[in-house]
Amino acid sequence: MNHMWASAVSIELYKIFRRPRTYIGFAAICFLVPLIQIALYVDGETYLEFSLQNLKEAFEFQGELLNGYLATYIILVTLYVHIPFLVTLVTGDLLAGEAATGTFRMILTRPISRTGLLLAKFTAGLIYTSLLIFCMGLLSIIMGVIVMGTGDLIVIKNTIYIFAEDDVMWRLIAAFGFGLLAMWTVAALSFMLSSFAENSIGPIMITMSIIIVFIIISAIDLSIFRTVKPFLFTSHMGSWKLFFEEPVNYNKIGNSALILSAHIVVLISVTLFSFRRKDILS
């Protein structure tokens, strides 16, 4: 049965990559990442000047601050809110798409168990998500370095952090790694919603609505929201930024990773529980 499960994963990947909608995400990234980098290359000095205008009165900055590392960091800040949409385009369709086209009847009369099939589909969804984030990371870093070169990375939060050139790459890789975990959580949410739906529009819209509502709740500093905030996955999606602090707060990052992982486990458990009992009537 393990062989059948592995076979089911490869079949699901094959199906994912034979559909045009799969390439929308890659196309969007391949368009947006170079666009942002070219814009920064052309007009980045103005952007940097504006960001550092108060600091320049007190400090003297030397070296090339506008470099590929800063461009990659800016891309991460800009796009991580929008990537969930590209993830749900595929993961929200994994189960609902089969229900909509009636192919569930065909595949669920095969010997593979429902649990096996569902986990194979989810694994394929995670692989797609990973490739999307890998593509974004690779394109951002490689193109950024080629176009704007390397240098120290300046990050302005409540305080100003300047990371030496040789101290940046691991932080970027770790940030993309954490971002991947956040996107897996989004994938798990849309996958669960997909199991309740008969077409993929619903899961995609509901996932995005949930993310928007949770981000708003996370951003509003009202006491009524304070108790729920630590448990919302959106409160932890941005914890990749903690890699760009000194010292790195690994406890906080670990806690966020744990909460995101717990979300994935709970969401998949709910999906399994309902899907195993579901009568296939369509």
Binding site: A8, K15, R105, M106, P111, D279, I280
Partner: protein, 302 residues
């Protein structure tokens, strides 16, 4: 026919709230059977077939296939079963051969290109093997549906209304294919239908269900032997034909006369005799169409 039981359904129930879709169904399908599963729309045929294929869970009752409990041995059983449930929807963005390759792998069967080609040849689709399924007509999809049910060399095929939506030519092709699979490949076939004449043409045994219960079960020939069928006779000399039938004592069997057609009720054995009677009396018979409807058969049972 061998007597070993392939499917055994015992006291099967499926309820949706207060509605009982299947209500205490029991019957057996034997090895080598072409088993007709008949009933009017809404009788519970599709629900039963979905339970046989574990698409839905029975409320109560027991299903044994190949002498094993379906719930406890689902995977082992389904490796040896091929099926079409309602219309066979395939992946439109994939070719016919890729659909078959993919579905056979989900059955734990590695279909070689030769196997795929031979199955597509069997259903008359070898020339479209590499075309995307979304370009196929309904009849072609139906034939591909049969191909996916066959690809992993099953011992039992369950077909839910396999000729639904097909044109007359397509119906004939699918029926011939079903007979061929049974006779030449020895595959046991259970087919649901709401057409009694279809089951009469294909099946050796049948069960008729209504409102989720068995109405009658048994050998097709035996069950239908005492049943009269409607026969429509087409002739240009309608008055003469009518007179000949009345003279020969068949007047009370005439159901209606419309235009150039007379419809009467006859035993199967009488059909050829009436044809000869009319021809001998100089009536030109243009057509003679016997039709047996499920509705009429129901009425004869009650």
């Amino acid at each position: 026919m061998s007597n070993s039981t392939i499917i055994e359904i015992s006291d099967l129930h499926k309820s949706y709230g207060a509605f009982k879709a299947v209500n205490g169904l029991s019957f057996k399908v034997f090895k080598g059977d072409v088993f007709g599963f008949l009933g009017p729309n809404g009788a519970g045929k599709s629900t039963t077939i979905r339970m046989l294929l574990s698409l839905i869970t029975p409320t109560s009752g027991r299903i044994k296939i190949f002498d094993k409990d379906l719930i406890a041995n689902r995977s082992t059983i389904l490796m040896k079963v091929g099926a079409i449930v309602e219309k066979p929807d395939m992946y439109g963005y994939l070719s016919a051969s890729n659909n078959l390759k993919l579905l056979s792998r989900l059955s734990g069967y590695v279909a070689t290109n030769d196997r795929i080609n031979s199955v597509l040849l069997m259903v008359g689709l070898s020339h479209r093997a590499h075309d995307k399924v979304k370009t196929f007509s309904q009849g072609m999809k139906q034939r591909l549906g049969i191909a996916q049910a066959l690809i992993h060399e099953p011992e039992l095929i369950i077909l839910d209304e396999p000729t639904n939506g097909l044109d007359p030519q397509g119906m004939v092709e699918i029926r011939n294919l079903i007979l061929k699979l049974n006779k030449e490949n020895g595959i046991t076939i259970m087919l649901s239908s709401h057409l009694l004449n279809e089951v009469e043409m294909l099946a050796n045994r049948m069960v008729i269900i209504d409102k989720g219960k068995v109405v009658v079960e048994g050998d097709v020939v035996e069950l239908l032997s005492g049943d009269k069928m409607k026969v429509t006779i087409g002739t240009s000399d309608i008055d003469k034909a009518n007179a000949v039938l009345i003279e020969s004592g068949l007047g009370h069997e005439i159901l209606k006369i419309e235009g150039h057609e007379i419809q009467l009720q006859l035993d199967q054995s009488e059909v050829s005799k009436v044809n000869a009677l009319l021809v001998d009396n100089g009536v030109q018979v243009d057509k003679m169409v016997p039709v047996r409807s499920l509705e009429d058969y129901f009425l004869s049972l009650t």
